[in-house]
């Protein structure tokens, strides 16, 4: 069937073939263009506009002029320092609470749920199909003065006789925590689910108690999920103003409330822009530091 083969083939005098033309080299750029252009126009450009507006001065009647008025920033920072710090405080508190609530839930779904996993995930997401605002209004009902939550707290002595939950920081933080729960639970679940079970078994084989196994193996391996979850919770929480509106009073207002009122009510654009830009930078800084410290890789 076969003839003896020849290794170095006799030179056939054939020319060396030219390299294959790489015709499709511009395809990726075509694919990227529409999406990135959209983002350039409706994200980058607005950001630049905000930066520019924040350095202007004037009023609606007289018109605005770009005078590079850095004082916009310093003045705004001074006047609204309280709201800034409150925003970050509330956001931090609600992030921690969200983590405390979500972690065991995510752990349960990842490790103990078996066949019911998908159903449970569905149940975690489902409540968030009712509108964000409607849910927050529901909390207004739940935490209302005549509701049983307040009643129970009063009986247990957690609240004084005429104490309220609504219109307090507690209510605002409670609302913030609730509203971003899936953003915490799902990344946690995703990262817990990926953990190789045999690593935990190896730990217990090497004399670790269940708690130690968790602390030394599971927790560190779930950190990428923790990082993603805390970012996805903290960032929207810091800029939120709806929870304060519905569940709090102006004395709990966060920086989001100030930006909203400056932009839409008072129409003080330069100040509002300065506040907005500062918030953006602060968030980016925090994200950068946090991500570097926690050592995750690509987030996208």
């Amino acid at each position: 069937m076969t003839q003896p083969l020849v290794a170095p083939a006799a030179d056939t005098g054939a020319d060396v073939a030219p390299p294959v033309r790489r015709r499709g080299r511009w395809i990726p750029y075509l694919l990227l263009l529409p999406g990135l252009l959209w983002l350039a126009i409706f994200f980058v450009l607005p950001m630049l506009t905000v930066a520019s507006t924040s350095l202007q001065e004037g009023s609606l009647a007289q018109g605005y002029e770009l005078t590079w008025r850095v004082a916009n920033y310093t003045e705004a920072a001074q006047r609204y320092a309280a709201q800034f710090s409150r925003a970050f405080l509330f956001a931090a508190a609600s992030t921690v609470l969200a983590l405390v609530v979500s972690y065991p839930l995510a752990y349960f779904i990842a490790f103990k749920a078996g066949r019911w996993r998908n159903l449970l995930l569905l149940l975690v997401i489902a409540p968030f199909f009712t509108s964000f605002l409607i849910r927050t209004l529901a909390w207004k009902i739940i935490l209302s003065d005549s509701g049983w939550v307040v009643g129970t707290f009063q009986t247990l002595g957690l609240l004084p006789e005429q104490g309220r939950l609504l219109a307090t920081s507690v209510a605002v933080i409670a609302g913030l925590t609730y509203n971003f729960l899936p953003f915490m639970t799902l990344p946690l679940y995703a990262s817990l689910e990926k953990i190789d079970r045999s690593l935990i078994e190896a730990a217990t084989d090497l004399y670790a108690s269940p708690f130690t196994a968790f602390w030394k193996v599971t927790w560190p391996l779930s950190l990428p999920g923790v990082v993603a979850g805390t970012l996805l919770t903290f960032i929207p929480a810091a800029g939120d103003f709806v929870n304060v509106r519905f569940l709090g009073t102006p004395s709990q207002s966060m920086i989001g409330n100030v930006i909203e009122s400056r932009f839409l009510v008072v129409l003080d654009y330069p100040t509002a822009a300065a506040l907005s830009f500062t918030l953006m930078l602060a968030i980016l800084l925090l994200v950068g530091l946090y991500v570097r410290r926690a050592g995750t890789e690509t987030i996208v």
């Binding site: 003839q3 083939a9 073939a17």
Partner: protein, 383 residues
């Protein structure tokens, strides 16, 4: 795009085939000619360029230089879907969203053939998977997926079939079965098979011809017996099976035989084994003897006529089932490996003085200065 009809004229020629990835040359000026209907294996360690070569023939990788000719057709610039060549992938690459029937029929459908039922049935019968038509790839075992991938490729009657380490993921027993199945099928359909593998046993079992590759080049090409019994470089000698390498000095010529000296022992090899390029300035060569060619006997036993003989001491024994492996230390402190077939002879104890004999034509000779392709594995027996 119609599936091409099988023809006799399916000789594969690779001319100066080169592939560079930046600074790395994966395939280096490869020349190869494979006649129609052959079963050729590209054998080598990972990184030797065998898979890259296969992918260039398939059209999945564009060569940096060189040509690929199949029969009269120059495949070099052609897209994969224009080549009368099909591939069986290492991970099978079965389409998960189609059932087995549609997977197998895929190539025919793309070629515009409407009525595929008969052919699919035939193919599934050939690979012994009749009745699996409606199953999904996720519902079949590794070995079954392998056979589906094979059927999916063969159904198009390609001029050549490329197999990219298709048996790697199977367990030993299944792998052995599949090796024989593939060989049987190849003989039945008489299509050229180009099989890439790093398993020398697999290559020797299945292929008529083996090209041993290292660092982008073909080290040696030939029938399995040729490569095994007459390796031309240390790399080939060590990649296929084990060898004992004796560094000896050429003494003189005696008719058909050449006399060599190592320490105080004289050896002979047939003169035809030495090519003119083999005698270095110092007159040294490597004489290779495979462990199974060495006969072990007590040191005082007479040496049969015409055989080479060495004396040594047994250092270690291992019982391996079909054979016993001995390590014998020679007078010049080299440890040689001997495979003695278990035929109810008593195991020779360590410490026993023995003599090893072999027939002169059972050795091979290598140039002492042959560069052994830098990344060659350690010789089986340390000199």
């Amino acid at each position: 795009m119609t599936a091409p009809q099988p023809t006799e004229d399916a000789e594969l020629r690779l001319i100066g085939l080169t592939k560079r990835f930046g600074p790395i040359t994966a395939v280096d000026d490869l020349h190869l000619r494979v006649p129609s209907g052959a079963f050729i294996a590209l054998l080598g360690p990972s990184g030797c360029g065998k898979t890259t070569t296969l992918r260039m023939v398939a059209g999945l990788e564009a060569p940096t230089a060189g040509q690929i000719l199949l029969g009269d057709t120059d495949l070099t610039g052609l897209k994969p879907y224009r080549r009368p060549v099909n591939t069986v992938f290492q991970s099978y690459a079965l389409f998960p969203h189609l059932d087995i029937y549609e997977n197998v029929a895929f190539g025919l459908r793309r070629s515009g053939i409407k009525d595929v039922r008969a052919q699919v049935g035939q193919m599934l019968e050939l690979v012994q998977l009749t009745g699996f038509e409606r199953r999904r790839p996720s519902q079949v075992s590794g070995g079954q997926a392998q056979r589906v991938a094979l059927a999916r490729a063969l159904i198009n009657h390609p001029k050549m079939l490329l197999l990219d380490e298709p048996l790697g993921a199977l367990d030993l027993k299944l792998r052995r079965e599949m090796q024989l199945t593939l060989k049987r099928i190849q003989e039945e359909v008489r299509i050229t098979f180009l099989h890439v593998t790093h398993d020398q046993e697999e290559a020797m079992t299945m292929a008529d011809t083996i090209a041993v590759m290292s660092q982008g080049r073909i080290e040696q090409l030939g029938h399995p017996e040729q490569l095994y019994e007459r390796p031309r470089t240390q790399f080939v000698a060590n990649f296929l099976g084990q060898s004992n390498m004796l560094r000896a000095t050429v003494d003189g010529r005696d008719g058909d035989l050449v006399t060599l000296r190592i320490a105080d022992t004289t050896l002979v090899v047939p003169a035809e084994m030495l090519s003119h390029g083999m005698l270095t300035a110092s007159g040294e060569v490597h004489v290779g003897v495979r462990p199974e060619k060495l006969d072990l006997a007590p040191v005082d036993d007479p040496v049969p006529q015409g055989r080479n003989a060495l004396r040594g001491v047994v250092v270690d024994t291992s019982f391996m089932g079909t054979s016993t492996q001995y390590l014998v230390r020679t007078g010049w402190d080299q440890e040689l490996t001997v495979f003695a077939q278990n035929r109810h002879t008593d195991v020779v104890a360590p410490g026993t003085r023995v003599r090893l004999t072999w027939r002169p034509e059972h050795a091979f000779v290598l140039d002492a200065d042959t560069p052994t392709s830098a990344a060659a594995p350690q010789p089986a027996v340390a000199p």
